[in-house]
């Protein structure tokens, strides 16, 4: 029988995941739909991971308010969900008096937004805060409340928490059609959502957190007409040994369209530089280009001269789902009943996500959804201890408790079999899913040595044959078939 939910959330990116988790604290039946094989595999995966400091946007935008609120919610969230997060602070580096004038504006904006602790800095102060800065930096802004997070790990743990509290996660559910049942305005009014592969579910309330495809989903529900403009960002990842690893996130002075290209010290010890900002028409265009390589490195080296292309491990591209006016669009639909738009969530969407969830919860409440707290709700999820972050003593104890901690699968990032198994048992059954959950394959050899070991563990744990295992779902198969006769002549 087709399952019926109080709330269906479309899209398991950071917004959808945060919303589903927030709502899971109430006595509601909730479904979280994701069209990809794993959660966070859309916009959220290729995010820069910056938790913003609340000074980039003007106070009259919704996103400024949610950015400030969201930022403040991160400490509690991390205590409950154990994702990698560090409030390392943000610096904006200015090279001229002209740039210092813009920094002054940012400062004023930050103060107006209520950003905590931001300060204007002279050159000496900037170099004290980040000794690796270019010596030509003459001053800038310091936002101590800014930080960095591993965005996909945040999403994974939000979803894990949601599922722990009863949310049904449906991956590979690509909403292709919608039917309405019951009379308009009546209590029994419902939506039937059909997946492109024929599966269907029912829901009373629907939340459109479909990222790049929020416009298409809105159309399917007969709701507002708007267009999501994908804006591509390319980033480069540098080895954990790279000397360019800074103590803080370093921004250039922004221009009117973009915050510019940054130097980001990831929580896991690598360094990321980028992103570019390029309009594109194709919502699946994740290709990188050679021209941007020069641009990104030039820009990053201007901030931190020790950035070197010799340290590149990999590069990738992500898409931001932007709306024409640049703000978030979070509202109950005026055209479709019990349908909530969560669209245009580009930067600072990651920062704002916990606040977006709170905001959407309030919208539902105002719209008449009854919210009764669930006494069984658990805010915390069990942590998966990571071999690489343990002391020798802890490693010893972990291996004694579970011998699989002694089997190191990924030698570059020191990931053990126990962590790979934990990833698979939490539903991450593609190579990329395991990579993003555990970091196996994310290091300098890029899976050259660990891929076949992970394939073997995946086969053992899931029973999937070799040729059914994929990099990230659909047709991203790894090997085609077994060696057999008659195909060789």
């Amino acid at each position: 029988m087709m399952k019926r939910y109080d709330v269906v959330v479309i899209g398991a990116g950071v917004s959808g995941a945060a919303i589903a988790r927030r709502l899971s604290a109430y006595r509601l039946s909730i479904a979280l739909l994701e069209k990809e094989i794993d959660v966070s595999f859309g916009v959220s995966k290729a995010n820069s991971g910056v938790i913003h400091g609340g000074f980039h946007h003007s106070p009259d935008l919704l996103k400024s308010r949610l950015e400030i609120q969201g930022n403040l919610m991160y400490d509690k969230l991390q205590r409950e969900l154990h994702f990698p997060f560090r409030r390392c602070g943000i610096l904006v580096a200015a090279f001229s008096t002209e740039e210092m004038r813009i920094v002054q504006e940012l400062y004023n904006r930050g103060v107006a937004n209520g950003a905590i602790g931001i300060e204007l800095c002279n050159g000496d102060r900037m170099h004290m805060l980040e000794p690796k800065l270019n010596s030509d930096v003459m001053g800038g802004l310091f936002a101590p409340g800014g930080g960095i997070v591993e965005p996909y790990r945040l999403v994974f743990s939000l979803v894990e928490s949601a599922v722990l509290n009863g949310v049904d996660l449906h991956t590979n559910f690509d909403v292709a059609g919608v039917e309405k049942s019951g009379k308009t305005g009546s209590e029994d009014r419902e939506y039937v959502l059909h997946g492109s592969d024929g599966q269907s579910i029912r829901g009373r309330w629907v939340i459109n957190a479909a990222g790049l495809f929020a416009d298409r989903i809105s159309g399917l529900f007969g709701a507002e007409d708007f267009r999501i403009h994908p804006r591509k960002g390319e980033e480069f990842l540098l080895d954990r040994e790279a000397s360019a690893h800074t103590g803080r996130v370093i921004f250039p002075v922004p221009n009117p369209v973009s915050k510019g290209m940054l130097v980001i010290p990831t929580v896991e010890g690598t360094t990321m530089i980028g992103p570019t900002a390029l309009e594109t028409d194709d919502k699946e265009d994740l290709a990188t280009s050679s021209e941007n390589f020069e641009k990104v490195f030039y820009s990053a080296r201007r901030l931190i001269p020790s950035v070197s292309e010799r340290d590149i491990i990999t590069s990738f591209a992500g898409l931001r789902p932007s709306l024409e006016d640049g703000d978030f669009y979070i509202a109950r639909s005026e055209k479709a009943e019990r349908f909530v738009q969560v669209a245009g969530i580009q930067s600072p969407g990651l920062t704002a996500a916990p606040a977006i969830a709170e905001y959407v919860k309030d919208l539902l409440k105002q719209g008449g959804l009854e919210l009764t707290e669930d006494p069984d709700y658990q805010g915390e999820i069990p942590a998966v201890p990571r071999f690489r972050s343990m002391s020798l003593h802890e490693q010893d104890a972990a291996v004694k408790a579970d011998p699989a901690y002694g089997n190191i699968i990924c030698r570059c990032e020191n990931v053990s079999e126990a962590e790979v198994v934990a990833a698979i048992r939490r539903g991450h059954t593609s190579l990329d899913g395991i990579k993003f959950y555990t970091r196996a394959g994310m290091g300098r050899c890029q899976g050259g040595f660990c891929s076949y070991k992970i394939l073997q563990i995946l086969r053992r744990e899931t029973g999937l044959p070799w040729e059914k295992i994929t990099k990230r779902g659909r047709k991203s198969w790894i090997v085609r078939e077994r060696i057999s006769p008659a195909k060789t002549s």
Binding site: Q395, I408, W477
Partner: protein
Amino acid sequence: MKHTEFDAVVIGGGASGLSAAAEMSRGGASVAVVEREETLGGILNQCIHNGFGLHQYNEELTGPEYAERCIRDLDGLSVKVFTGMTVTLMETEEGTQLLYGFSRESGMVRFRCRAIVLAMGCRERNRGNLGTPGTRPSGIFTAGLAQRLVNIDGMVPGRECVIVGSGDIGLIMARRMTWIGARVRGVIEIQPYPAGITRNIVQCLRDFDIPLYLSHSITRIYGKDRISGVDVAPVRNAGGEASGAFHIPCDTLLLSVGLVPENEISRKAGVRLHPETGGPVVDARYMTSVTGIFACGNVLHVHDLVDYASEEARHCGQAVLDYLSGVSAGEQLRVGAGRNVKYVVPGRFALTGKNRFYLRSMITGTGARLCVRLGGIEVLRRKLPYVQPSEMISFDLAADEDAISSRFTTGGDETDLEVSLEIPEKEGA
């Protein structure tokens, strides 16, 4: 945590590690080998083609056969082997070495020893290192990973294949892919000459009419889920988007674009690395910049023949025995790469006994001469029939040669011995 003690611990159970271990054990040392795979033999196990062992055993063996001989060499010796064990940390403590290994079977083990031999081999350069633009689909493998999937696991990675890089692994994989029923649509080499040996060009490419595109590179990768094709363009001064570019559809891309010695734990232990080889800087007895830590095989510099790696490992094993028995290394001269030489290993010359050196040429051609100069005076000169970057050159130099003993110099920051390759001026025809 288990505690255990040896005279020497070898990290890595491939050809080099096993050869060094056997040598040390025969010399009376107590030795352990720590190997992260479940079986000994290292990468040889997946190199099922022949061509190994001509120097060591005077016969042509396949990789697994060579590995099995190395393993059998341990028979009758008391080398303790830990398989499935990864070393995550090395520490030096007052002249002794501490080493931490983890495995499913033994849990956490702390080894205390007087000497460590690094023999971890190398890893392959990958797409991230190439920086080729385009999408990130599945179906892009380093040649070694594909070789593993085919030869050990029995899988067909795909049916329409393009190979980047004409090094020997890439060429061998062109034949292997063809022999499992795939079609290899081309091998793309950025240099104007092939990186692999002639025999492989003939028997792995020409036998199957596989085109070799010299002075070409791939400029873009296509495919959303699985790779669907690559753009190939002739190399020009910049980029390569010049005329003559073309597209090859494929479902598999193999990368054979170089090897890098794996020295992450060495570096953490304070071992100094050589900018050209990527391996540790070692003295005449293969000791790194950290007293008591030695290195040999592909972790030291990338060899093209396993025979040389084994040979080097035995020298290293001998040197460790000397170290363990307190024999002084004595005076050593610095050795440096001169004209047309990419690097020379080891970087020191011992003033006692025979010294063997390995070097890589930067030039290709016939009639080159190997010249060794001591303080500017030639002490060795040898004619080489043919040199090319892909073939390692080795030579011996004895300390008691007159030219050397009469010009005994030590110390200083200057290179004392300089090794170069010289193309003679045209001498008639």
